[in-house]
């Protein structure tokens, strides 16, 4: 065990999937023409006033409930004041000392099935800023489309002890948020952003080491990489005094895999928070919270627990299926369609073949050409020996292309497996006659030599023979 202990906390910003912005009624779509999704309010024209989009708060409450946080009965908004060209009001409407919820946790799970609870300090609502682009030719341009889009800021406790835990926390958080439908969490579109706080201290010491904040993290992998770089830097500093670690904000450079300090001038902020006088404090009624809670779907861990216990699946399979709730639903429908199928066999089909097709991107699970019942039919054919494993994959491809069920495709493509004993016996006898050396070897106890005889049968039947039946026939004929 290392002599050093790493402490990591994460601040995640998630863009909420509301129809309109947080304080005005502009719609926002990623990728629109710059400055076309704006109005007097989000442009901060003189006289314009913010009006809270209650739907954003409802999505926030939904998130709070999904992570087991306490929803406040009373919350308010505050102004965070700073000058920047992408912030036309000169302040951001955020929440300072009375966020709408506090507490809660995300449980992360490791490969060995062990778990760890990562606490959540608070979640608050705030508006996004616009986007500044600095041109290589000099000068900057500002797009205010994103300005005012609702964000949740989710602040974790400093509970993570390794970059890997941070990665798992982000993955688990994102999965939960996608389950409850509050955000698409697409980092490429900026709808999920993450800042990391990290420090290193001698193991056993209570006081935290000097903390560094890392920004400009554009993927979960890069969060992990940046943290790994920082942990190494801090550890080297502590072990060898290679440098002094100072409290600062650093930017991650994905190309080099390194972090570098932001200019100190950009860090010295007094945000002069004060209560937003244009947005009255908000009361959250208990029955509103209850009503939102009643619409929460089964959450990822509960789903995996259920998949494991109800269907006897390994947790790994459960997690792969649960990555998309509708894929898990598809799996469960397929299992339900034929009780004689082994759920693990169904899981293998879904996690391998179905997910492979989905990952190619041309099909979605909701409009998948092979209905869950049809997949179940294919698995039953394989189970009953009507098709071999190899044939089953061909049938699957055919079903994907035609939308027909498994027997239809198998028949149309001549992919039925020969399991008829009488028909196969002729082929087996012919193979035994054609392979005297292999027969001699088998008789001498070399079981492996049987493969040559099976191969001969397969060749004769153009692969259609059921290998299990062929094996049995070889044993029987040789024993005569």
């Amino acid at each position: 065990m290392s002599a050093w202990e790493t402490i990591i906390g994460l601040e995640v910003h998630v863009q909420l999937d509301t129809a309109t912005k947080l304080f005005c009624r502009c719609a926002y779509e990623y990728g629109g023409q710059p400055n076309t999704q704006t109005c007097p309010v989000c442009l901060a024209l003189p006289g314009a006033l913010p009006v809270l989009n209650r739907e954003a708060l409802r999505l926030g409450i939904r998130t709070a409930l999904a992570v087991g946080a306490d929803v406040a009965t009373h919350t308010k908004f505050d102004r965070k004041n700073y000058f920047y060209p992408d912030l036309p009001k000169g302040y951001q409407i955020s929440q300072f000392d009375e966020p709408f919820c506090s507490g809660g946790a995300i449980t992360i799970e490791f490969k060995d099935g062990s778990t760890k609870r990562i606490g959540i300090t608070r979640i608050h609502l705030e508006e996004d800023a616009g986007k500044s682009t600095h041109r290589d030719t000099g000068g900057s341009v500002v797009d205010l489309n994103r300005c005012g889009v609702p964000l949740l800021e989710i602040v974790s406790e400093p509970d993570m002890r390794s970059p890997e835990e941070a990665y798992r926390y982000l993955t688990a958080l994102k999965l939960t948020l996608r389950y409850i439908g509050v955000s698409d969490c697409d980092m490429e579109k900026g709808s999920l952003r993450c800042d990391a706080n990290v420090s290193v201290r001698p193991r056993g010491q209570e006081a935290f080491g000097t903390k560094v904040e890392i920004k400009n993290l554009n993927s979960f992998r890069n969060v992990q990489r940046a943290l790994e770089f920082e942990v190494a830097r801090h550890t080297a500093a502590l072990e060898h005094g290679s440098e002094e670690i100072v409290q600062q904000t650093r930017l991650f450079d994905a190309t080099t895999g390194e972090t570098r300090p932001m200019r100190s001038k950009e860090q010295a902020h007094d945000y002069r928070y004060f209560p937003e006088p244009d947005v009255p404090p908000v009361t959250i009624a208990g029955d509103e919270v209850e009503a939102i809670g009643a619409t929460l779907p089964e959450l990822p861990r509960a789903k995996v627990d259920r998949l494991a216990t109800a269907h006897g699946l390994p947790r790994y399979d459960g997690w792969v299926l649960a990555e998309e709730p509708s894929v898990a639903d598809y799996f469960e429908e397929a299992v339900a369609a034929d009780a004689a199928n082994d759920p693990k066999a169904v899981s293998n089909w879904v996690t391998n073949e179905v997910k492979r097709v989905l990952n190619e991107g041309t099909h979605t699970i909701d409009a998948f050409p092979i209905p869950s019942g049809a997949l179940s039919g294919l698995i039953a054919m394989q189970r009953d020996g009507a098709v071999s494993a190899t044939q089953a994959k061909e049938v699957f491809q055919g079903m994907l292309e035609t939308g027909d069920d498994a027997p239809t495709v198998a028949k149309a493509r001549g992919l039925e497996q020969l399991s008829d004993t009488d028909a196969l016996e002729t082929a087996v006898r012919a193979a035994i006659d054609a392979c005297p050396k292999a027969v001699a070897d088998v008789r001498a106890g070399k079981e492996k030599a049987k493969g040559a005889i099976v191969g001969h049968v397969m060749k004769q039947t153009r692969g259609k023979a059921n290998p299990g039946v062929v094996q049995q026939l070889i044993d029987r004929v040789l024993a005569e």
């Binding site: 003189p46 004041n81 000058f83 036309p88 007094d270 244009d278």
Partner: protein
């Protein structure tokens, strides 16, 4: 019917009725007031912009609608001058500041929409203290507005242009805004009626913010009836202003004839301190006598935290202002200074664009909100604000309306206070507490100094008790003739 020459003396109530009835065209009314303005405006400088073509086009459109047989709204053909802090689509919106010198609003404020829907004629943009920060209209970056009763004196502020426009009968009605007395004080100094509405009574949507928790839009008029007419048009819930109240809008005109018989009037002793000019005090005392003579009961009350009004106001207002004015940054739509980098773009644009008083208040507010000072200043001020509100709650438990002076002194010569911050701030001592408490208050002409400068009396009532104010003012108006006097201009 009076002659066209005297048309500018008619009340808004009469003008609207005559226009709606087809007895007068909106165009003839507009022309009469444009002619009046052409004659007296050069000596008064009440307007930052008065575009005769835009005025006539609106009037003609109203006439055309009436000619088509449409029923006109409650302000049919009535010119309403607009403080240049309230956004009017396609009109300049300078807020009296260089930083918005070239800005044209692309949208209408809520009150402007209401005025258009009521068939009013938007009648120019009136001068004001820069961003409403001032009490004399002298901090305007563009011109100095003169008091029509004595052009060597200031008209009060910050809505001085609107007060003068109405006092000099260049418009029968005007809109102003209040943050700490910016309607009542110039109304008092110019001898017209001015109403600071209950916080939430009128939507602030489209009024450039000075201090969001204090700002309110309100009317100027030459009679209680005209005041009621305009108030009825602009009051009411607007979903675009979250602080706009979901309170029914009463028939304000119906309250005008109710008299003051049995009305309980409180006289707050703190409003008659040493700082109050003897002529002002005597005028207000005479007004109280008049109301008593009309059947009102009077009693002494106390608003013990009045003395903290000025410090609390200047902390709350400047703190909010420091944030509200951050949007005028030289980046988006405000005047941009040449600068080598971003930091200088901000400092130069704002340094060149804002006047001294505005910069002073931004700095004061920035300081009050700064880390380490917030608790001692902003937070403490909000706590004392609560005490001031409770003073009024306690007083209104026993009385229906409070009476006192508006401004401690009548209009002073131009330049007398604008460079003396404390002297200027103290002019608001009797008005700011109503804004801090969010109640409604009105200034009503109550007499003149020996030198013929108007003096107003202030009436204050609980939230949404505007009918009580109007009823009291109407009874007082009927018993006196101060509001019928006209300035020398």
């Amino acid at each position: 019917m009076s002659s066209v020459d005297a048309l500018h003396r008619e009340s808004a109530v009469d003008l609207a009725r005559a226009c709606a009835a087809g007895e007068r065209s909106a165009r003839s009314i507009a022309d009469a007031f444009l002619a009046r303005a052409a004659s007296v405006e050069p000596g008064l400088d009440a307007f930052l912009e008065l575009d005769a073509a835009r005025v006539r086009a609106q009037a003609d459109a109203i006439d055309a609608r009436r000619d088509r047989g449409e029923t006109l709204g409650p302000l049919a053909g009535v010119p309403v001058a607009i403080k240049d802090l309230i956004a009017e689509r396609d009109a300049p919106l300078t807020c009296g500041s260089r930083i918005l010198e070239n800005y044209v609003s692309p949208y209408d404020a809520h009150v402007i929409e209401r005025l258009r829907a009521a068939d009013a004629v938007l009648f120019g943009r009136t001068n004001l203290d820069e961003f409403a920060m001032g009490s004399t209209t002298e901090t305007s970056a563009f011109k100095v507005t003169k008091n029509p009763w004595d052009p060597a004196r200031f008209p009060g502020g910050s809505s001085g242009g609107s007060a003068v426009a109405v006092a000099a009968r260049m418009a029968p009605l005007a809109l102003g805004t209040e943050t700490g007395g910016s309607i009542r004080q110039p109304a008092s100094l110019c001898g017209v009626y001015g109403l600071k509405t209950t916080y939430g009574r009128v939507s602030r949507y489209g009024a450039a913010a000075y201090a969001s928790s204090l700002d309110q839009i309100g009317p100027f008029a030459t009679s209680a009836a005209d005041l009621a007419l305009l108030l009825g048009v602009i009051a009411g819930r607007d979903t675009r202003d979250s602080t706009s109240a979901d309170e029914p809008v009463p028939d304000y005109a119906a309250s005008l004839g109710q008299g003051v018989e049995g009305l309980r009037i409180g006289v707050p002793r703190e409003f008659f301190g040493d700082g109050v000019d003897p002529e002002v005090r005597a005028t207000v005392e005479r007004a109280i006598e008049t109301l008593r003579g009309l059947g009102a009961e009077t009693r002494d009350v106390s608003l013990p935290h009045t003395e903290y009004g000025i410090p609390v106001y200047y902390l709350v207002a400047t703190s909010e202002a420091s944030s509200n004015l951050a949007r005028y940054d030289g980046v988006h739509y405000t005047t941009r200074a040449d600068a080598p980098d971003l930091e200088h773009l901000y400092t130069r644009s704002r340094g060149d664009g804002f006047g001294l008083e505005v910069k002073k208040r931004i700095m004061l507010g920035t300081f009050a909100l700064s880390a380490g000072y917030y608790d001692a200043y902003y937070k403490k001020a909000q706590q004392v604000r609560t005490l001031i509100r409770r003073d009024f709650d306690a007083a209104f438990a026993d009385v229906d309306v409070l009476v006192g002076p508006v401004a401690p002194a009548p209009a002073a010569p131009l330049g007398a206070v604008v460079d003396d911050a404390l002297a200027m701030y103290m002019m608001d001592v009797l008005t700011v507490t109503a804004n801090l408490a969010g109640i409604c208050a009105l200034s009503c002409p109550a007499g003149f100094t020996e030198g013929r400068l108007p003096i107003g009396v202030q009436l204050l009532a609980p939230p949404f008790a505007e009918p009580t104010l109007l009823r009291t003012a109407a009874a007082f108006e009927a018993a006196t003739d101060y509001s019928r006097e006209e300035p020398i201009a």
